[in-house]
């Protein structure tokens, strides 16, 4: 059929996905620790066009080979949705267990973006989940966790989060890292690694660094999934009594939304035109009245 129809349809689909991303950003404009997602559009691989000449055929070594006309694009697609890890607005908070991550100066080497995160434990995923939201609450065992119940993990001296740990609020108000059992209850056991050797664990709320933040996949509940092997000791400062807000830029999101809307409309106009061209070809050419 007519190639233009599918090209325009791909444009509409890509804009629809883009609108999904923008409206997700806008509904999270008030969520602490949320990072804005940017959709990246990429054009489809291009096709090479040849003009067939008399006597040429498709053999490029013939005496009069076909003339190469050039390349033609075949559409657009939304290739990836990148989370933007810039710092959100730091606000003072009156809640007793609010922490904000103040990023160290970003050293971007090899195009990689380092970023620091809190490590929490989600029962649905093995290993640590990373989050920037520093709003924690005490549960009935005095362990700190996020507002949906994910336990805050302690970080050892090598910068790795300890999955069977928790941060417990002591009677005098200070924090202490404790080992928890399979049900999430705190125990008095000492910290040991897989070989049984004792490890040192920090007793304050610590962060871990990720070498390349673009490899993180958003999971929901303000968390990101990462490959545990890429975690490094945290370099950012953690400040108690502050909370990091969402980094969504509402102005830019509104402009993107207007852009997406008009681009969607323009693509639909192309489909209308292709449709009426096909209509002429099918119904009117060669019509004997």
């Amino acid at each position: 059929m007519i190639r233009g129809l599918y090209t325009a349809a791909s444009g509409m689909l890509a804009n629809e996905r883009m609108q999904e991303i923008v409206s997700n950003n806008l509904s999270n404009v008030n969520t602490p620790g949320y990072k804005q997602q940017d959709g990246e559009l990429m054009s489809f691989p291009e096709q090479l066009l040849y003009r067939i000449q008399y006597g040429g055929g498709l053999d490029v070594n013939a005496a009069a080979p076909n003339a190469k006309l050039g390349t033609m694009g075949t559409g657009v697609w939304l290739q990836e949705s990148l989370s933007r890890f810039s710092e959100g607005m730091i606000q003072k908070s009156d809640q007793p267990y609010d922490y904000a991550i103040i990023d160290a100066t970003q050293n971007s080497t090899n195009g990689q973006v380092p970023a620091s995160f809190f490590a929490v434990y989600d029962p649905g995923k093995a290993g640590a989940l990373l989050t920037r939201t520093g709003h924690f609450e005490r549960n009935t065992d005095n362990l700190l966790g996020t507002s949906s119940g994910q336990r805050l993990l302690a970080v050892d001296d090598k910068g790795q989060p300890v999955v069977n740990s928790g941060m417990q609020v002591q009677d005098d108000g200070t924090l202490k890292a404790v080992v928890v059992d399979a049900n999430g209850k705190p125990t008095q056991k000492p910290f040991v690694d897989a070989n049984g050797r004792a490890i040192q664990v920090k007793d304050n709320v610590s962060v871990v660094d990720v070498a390349d933040a673009n490899q993180l996949v958003p999971y929901g509940n303000n968390g990101y999934l990462s490959n545990q092997a890429t975690l490094r000791p945290g370099t950012a400062e953690v400040r108690h009594g502050f909370i990091e807000g969402s980094n969504v830029d509402p102005t830019q999101s509104m402009v993107t939304m207007m852009n997406v809307m008009r681009s969607y409309e323009a693509n639909s106009k192309v489909i209308h035109t292709v449709d009426s061209t096909t209509d002429k070809a099918v119904n009117e050419i060669g019509k004997v009245s």
């Binding site: 969520t31 291009e46 005490r138 549960n139 929901g220 509940n221 939304m257 809307m261």
Partner: protein, 289 residues
């Protein structure tokens, strides 16, 4: 269209936040009221499968290269995770009434919602110390709250002052209530002060300025170990009573107003996203009219 649902979740969540803020503002003058706040998190992401497109022959290899893992994570919006009360102390107002009490410290008055007490810990608590002497259906006089609930002593019994000269009732700084009977001043009871462990997770607002004690699910700790009545020895730890004062609401109108403006603008942004998604669906419907 998923964009519509993302934006709709944004509107619903910001609406809840505005509901909570307006409740706080309405109660900004209520004695003993504790401000409430909501927490947000983003919803789970769905992962769309993608092919990792390789550059074709003759194309620049870096042109199509992506920097995030293969797959497109698309968000679903926002949700409310928790509604928490802020248990910081409000300011004190001097009233000079002999039966007005204000607690300094981390404890609560015990209140009976029915009956006269059977010696166990009460099921409801309050910080509202505006008491009066009232009669219940049986004709006996008790120390009551504004709404007619009986205040308990340290053992969870209602404080019965039938037969005493009610004009002579006095309460001292450790909660001892004394009155004159037949010309002699006698100690009647000790107004109970109860220390509640984890008020943010075990006390839920129940209306009438009361907080209901909610033992948490899965936790087998008995109420006796979590609450204990204050004796003369440990009143230094958990507070004392000021006679002739009332504790005002801890709502800070400035922060409530700025939160309200922020939530209102976030709601407007989400509603714009709903309108845009609606227009896009209209365009798609008119493709073949």
């Amino acid at each position: 269209m998923q964009a519509l649902w993302n934006a709709a979740s944004g509107i619903a969540s910001q609406q809840r936040k505005i509901d909570v803020i307006s409740n706080n503002v309405a109660n900004s003058n209520t004695v003993g009221y504790k401000a409430q706040d909501v927490s947000f998190q983003d919803l789970l992401y769905r992962q769309l499968d993608q092919k990792n497109l390789e550059p074709m022959n003759g194309q620049d290899p870096s042109a199509q290269k992506r920097i995030s893992p293969v797959g497109l994570p698309l968000g679903s919006g926002i949700r409310l995770t928790n509604l928490e009360s802020d248990f910081t102390t409000g300011s004190y107002q001097m009233t000079n009434q002999p039966l007005d009490l204000a607690i300094e410290g981390n404890s609560y008055f015990g209140v009976l919602t029915s009956g006269t007490g059977n010696g166990s810990t009460p099921s409801a608590f309050t910080r509202n110390g505006h008491f009066h002497i009232g009669n219940d259906a049986s004709g006996n006089s008790y120390l009551m709250t504004d709404q007619g609930y009986k205040v308990t002593d340290s053992n969870g019994q209602a404080i019965d002052v039938t037969g005493y000269d009610q004009q002579s009732i006095q309460i001292t700084g450790d909660g001892t209530l004394s009155a004159v009977k037949d010309g002699n001043r006698q100690v009647v009871a000790q107004v109970g002060l109860f220390y509640v462990d984890h008020p943010e997770s075990s006390l839920k607002p129940a209306g009438d300025n009361l907080f209901a004690y909610v033992p948490s699910a899965g936790n087998t700790v008995a109420p006796i170990t979590q609450l204990y009545a204050v004796t003369a020895q440990d009143k230094q730890n958990v507070g004392q009573v000021h006679v002739g004062y009332l504790e005002q609401s801890n709502v800070d109108l400035t922060t409530q107003m700025t939160d309200l403006m922020q939530a209102q603008r976030a709601l407007e942004l989400s509603s714009k996203a709903v309108q845009t998604a609606d227009q896009m669906m209209g365009i798609a419907n008119n493709l073949r009219s």
